[in-house]
Amino acid sequence: MSAPLIAEPLLERAPLIARDWLTHALPEPLRWIANSLITIVVLLTVFGLLFAFLTLAERKVLGRVQNRPGPNRTGWAGLLQPFADGIKMLTKEDIVPRTADRVLHFLAPVAILGFSFLTFAVIPYGRHLVPVELDAGILYFFAAGSATELSIFMAGWSSHNKYALVAAMRALAQLISYELPLLLSAVPVVLAAGTLSASGIVEAQAGYKWGLVPHWHVLTPWGAASFAVFFISALSESNRSPFDLPEAESELIAGHLTEYSGFKYALFFMAEYFGMCALCGMAVTLFLGGWQAPLPALEFIPSYAWFSAKLLALLLVFIWVRATLPRLRMDQLTRFAWKFLVPLALVNLGASAFWSLTFAWTGPMQAVRWAVSLALAVGPFLLLGLRLGSGIGKRTYRCA
């Protein structure tokens, strides 16, 4: 492995070189701790800043979609807006309701931020930039990610407020419903790549067909279907519109955040964006080839730049979806998960298995392989779509 490492450009290893330069003087056990700490600090800084500017980008894009310029007063083109918001949040009064469970009320934002930050540990940000190399990284990712649901319920329960509690119940129902399709859409990738390690999955997507088309999972029929299911479930898991029922402003005040103010509120917000970033990062890893370049000619650009570009593109789509779609109703939400996404993901598992089994097929059989896979991806979608839409006529407004 050492020969290609030397041959690859300096930029690719630049973060590691910088880290080693900082810590090379320390004795061995200390150096390991220092290296880990540097990783954590860098992750916190990068994703903290990403969170800050993502809120700005979101407001800018939403504004543009609504033909407004968005925030443009603080700093050049509004670039300092997130920091103004941060200072505002820090200087606000921190209110704890008298009847609240003070300990849980304090712990909920801490826990949700902690759990959502844990998920960043296993995502491969670049060829050499994996904070923790876990053999079961995917499993760890989903385990840490589901723990945020606990914190949401903690927040709702400890606030001692009916809106917060109702919202927390909704959130639990929603997150548990969508945990299933999220996992089921990740399983085909694990099946195809034959590994639970995130870096292993990225390695499995290396190489190009005809020297042009990358071997990304999203470019296979089952991969595209899985990606769609994963993306929709990720929207829901990160409480994003159109699945933002837990904090539906018009129905539940601010959902489980009703009794939070000041910086605790900001922490929840941060955790939501961290979760969104982590799920997008996982989607990039599983389906969009991780840090792999889309064309062989573009491999000179460092791998982490490719990962960042894909991550930002996905986040932009998240914002775009938020700007477009109205919120679902609770029954529509759960029906969509259980009657549409879960069966689709299950059928897709079969499609992925077929794809893996027919790996050796060549020539005309290759066309058969594609046809069967396409049929397995599109057929259930059409059938389930018909079923989902049946019985729902045009809405007639009697009172308006």
Binding site: R64, V65, Q66, P69, W320, A323, L325, L382
Partner: protein
């Protein structure tokens, strides 16, 4: 097919997003301190005092300190002190004028009742909305110097209403002049004969009064 509507929706938002960059006409908002929209003529927020001339606003206030507005004001935000002496008004007649005329715009609810009750068209509604003050007790109480604005300003902010008022005042002034001239003429001329008997039209109108219906 399922999902087509979603894609159409995404296309609409994408079109708006991209369109907002190359077509400034799409913008529904203006960048306020730099750009301003023209306020609608009917917009009115707080009262001001109309003076006839811009050069000497205190000398030409239409207000005669009759205190009707002070009494009618529902939140009682107007405070008036009458003058002891008299000054000639726009028509040249000596009139009392307000020595003190204060409006607390922190209390004013913009109901416009003072404008409606004023028999002299002396108080009208303004359009100035940038009234922030650093002193919330003194800064928001406007005295007569701050309240007085010339009639030309009124014509500018509420052209239709101002034209109406000007016409009315001019007619009143003409009528007064006519009356004065007639009075002067009456003083000079010998007394006129008694008025002629009622014209026949009035008589017939009286005759056409509805009679009580027959029982």
């Amino acid at each position: 097919m399922l999902g087509i509507g979603l894609l159409q929706g995404l296309a609409v938002t994408a079109r708006n997003f991209l369109g907002s960059f190359h077509d400034p006409k799409r913008f529904v908002t203006v960048q306020y301190p730099e750009e301003r929209t023209r306020l609608p003529e009917a917009y009115r927020n707080f009262p001001f005092l109309v003076s006839e001339s811009a050069e000497d606003p205190m000398g030409t206030l239409r207000c005669v300190a009759c205190q009707i507005c002070e009494k009618e004001c529902p939140p009682q935000c107007i405070y008036i002190e009458k003058s002891r002496d008299k000054k000639p008004d726009a028509g040249g007649r000596p009139q009392i004028y307000p020595a003190v005329f204060d409006i607390d715009i922190a209390v004013c609810m913009s109901c416009q009742i003072c404008v409606e009750v004023c028999p002299f068209d002396a108080i009208k509604m303004d359009q100035v909305f940038e009234l922030a003050a650093t002193d919330r007790f003194g800064g928001l109480v406007l005295d007569r110097h701050a309240l007085a604005k010339p009639n030309s300003y009124f014509q500018q902010v509420h052209p239709a209403e101002a034209a109406d008022v000007d016409e009315r005042l001019a007619a009143a002034r003409r009528a007064a002049e006519e009356k004065a001239r007639a009075a002067a003429a009456a003083k000079l001329a010998p007394p006129r004969p008694a008025p002629a008997p009622k014209p026949p039209a009035a008589q017939s109108a009286e005759a056409q009064k509805p009679s009580p219906p027959a029982a």
